[in-house]
């Protein structure tokens, strides 16, 4: 899923201070799972903002809505009838949702309510960590199912670097060295000989470096 974390409330307050009618829009997908932008967080943010502005003696209209998804036209359309009632929308969806909302409702100011962090997993309740950077050409088959692009601090394709210490990365004693994980798993799989295959210079054109990406499936288009 896409993992995000809530922006500090002070930052959100600064962003909406000059408006009067605010819609807080959550999303029922990833940001709900990582407890950053689902229905519950929408409610908490709305309550906090209401109290803040009441305390300032300012009468604000603060409404709440949580869409099934903000990255799909279908669900975003649900706002069409009401969007003009608001001066600003705080979207608690990931960066993709915020943008899609802004694209669709071109004349409404849309502000991000979360910081979108990465694509990752729930390690345990309250702990999420990165697993993929969407490089557009997956090499997990060659790296024992562990991604050195997202999990090695230097995205080294032929690691580990000389800084790997006791299984941890040189930049942080709490962080697993991705290459230690790869080697351990190759070992488990009885494939340590594969370690000696050099991973060639990577074609990064399918990654961010190649510019904004698109996937087009002709068979699915009408």
């Amino acid at each position: 899923m896409i993992v995000a974390k809530q922006k500090p409330i002070e930052e959100i307050i600064e962003g909406v201070r000059d408006y009067e009618k605010i819609l807080i829009a959550g999303c029922n997908e990833c940001v709900t799972v990582c407890e950053a932008g689902g229905k519950k967080e929408v409610g908490i943010l709305a309550s906090a903002l209401r109290m803040y502005f009441m305390n300032q003696g300012k009468n604000m209209k603060i409404d709440e809505v949580t869409l099934e998804r903000q990255c799909d036209h279908e669900y975003l359309e649900e706002l069409r009838k009401i969007i003009d009632r608001y001066d600003v929308v705080i979207s608690l969806a990931c960066g993709a949702g915020v943008q899609f909302m802004a694209e669709k409702y071109f004349r409404t100011r849309v502000l991000p309510g979360v910081d979108t962090c990465f694509m990752g997993v729930t390690e345990e309740r309250g702990v999420w960590s990165e697993r993929c950077q969407g490089c557009g050409k997956c090499i997990l088959g060659e790296t024992a199912g562990i991604c050195p692009i997202s999990r090695c601090a230097k995205r080294i394709l032929n690691g580990p670097c000389g800084g790997s210490t006791k299984g941890k990365c040189e930049i942080d004693k709490e962080l697993d060295c991705a290459w230690q994980l790869i080697i351990d798993r190759l070992n488990e799989l009885g494939r340590l000989d594969d370690y000696e295959k050099i991973i060639p210079i990577k074609d990064w054109s399918t990654e961010r470096a190649g510019g904004p990406r698109r996937v087009v499936r002709e068979d699915l288009r009408l």
Partner: protein, 119 residues
Amino acid sequence: MRIQYPENIKIIGVPCTGKVDVLHLLRAFEKGADGVYVVGCLEGDCRFNSGNLRARKRVEQAQHILESIGVGGERVQMYNLSSGEGPRFAEIAVEMTEKIRKMGPNPIKISKEKNGCMI
């Protein structure tokens, strides 16, 4: 045993403090409460394992939010005690009342009254 505690306190019963959500706590302040405290079982004694520990975390989150928006984080607190501690329950009620008295009324309430805002 009937326990005497200050009358200004309104008790809301929940099956387990683990049921208490940040939003419940915030709403109480939005509606004008001056202080809120959650009383859970002793840590380690939760029938659902970690209900009271979760409650503590949520109280902390509510404290953080209330502090950030200028209402005052100290207005919400967590206490733990065992079911046999009636007198301690009363003690906590007095302690909390004192604390909130010192802090004064919920600033939102004052502001609402002054500005005639609708709840």
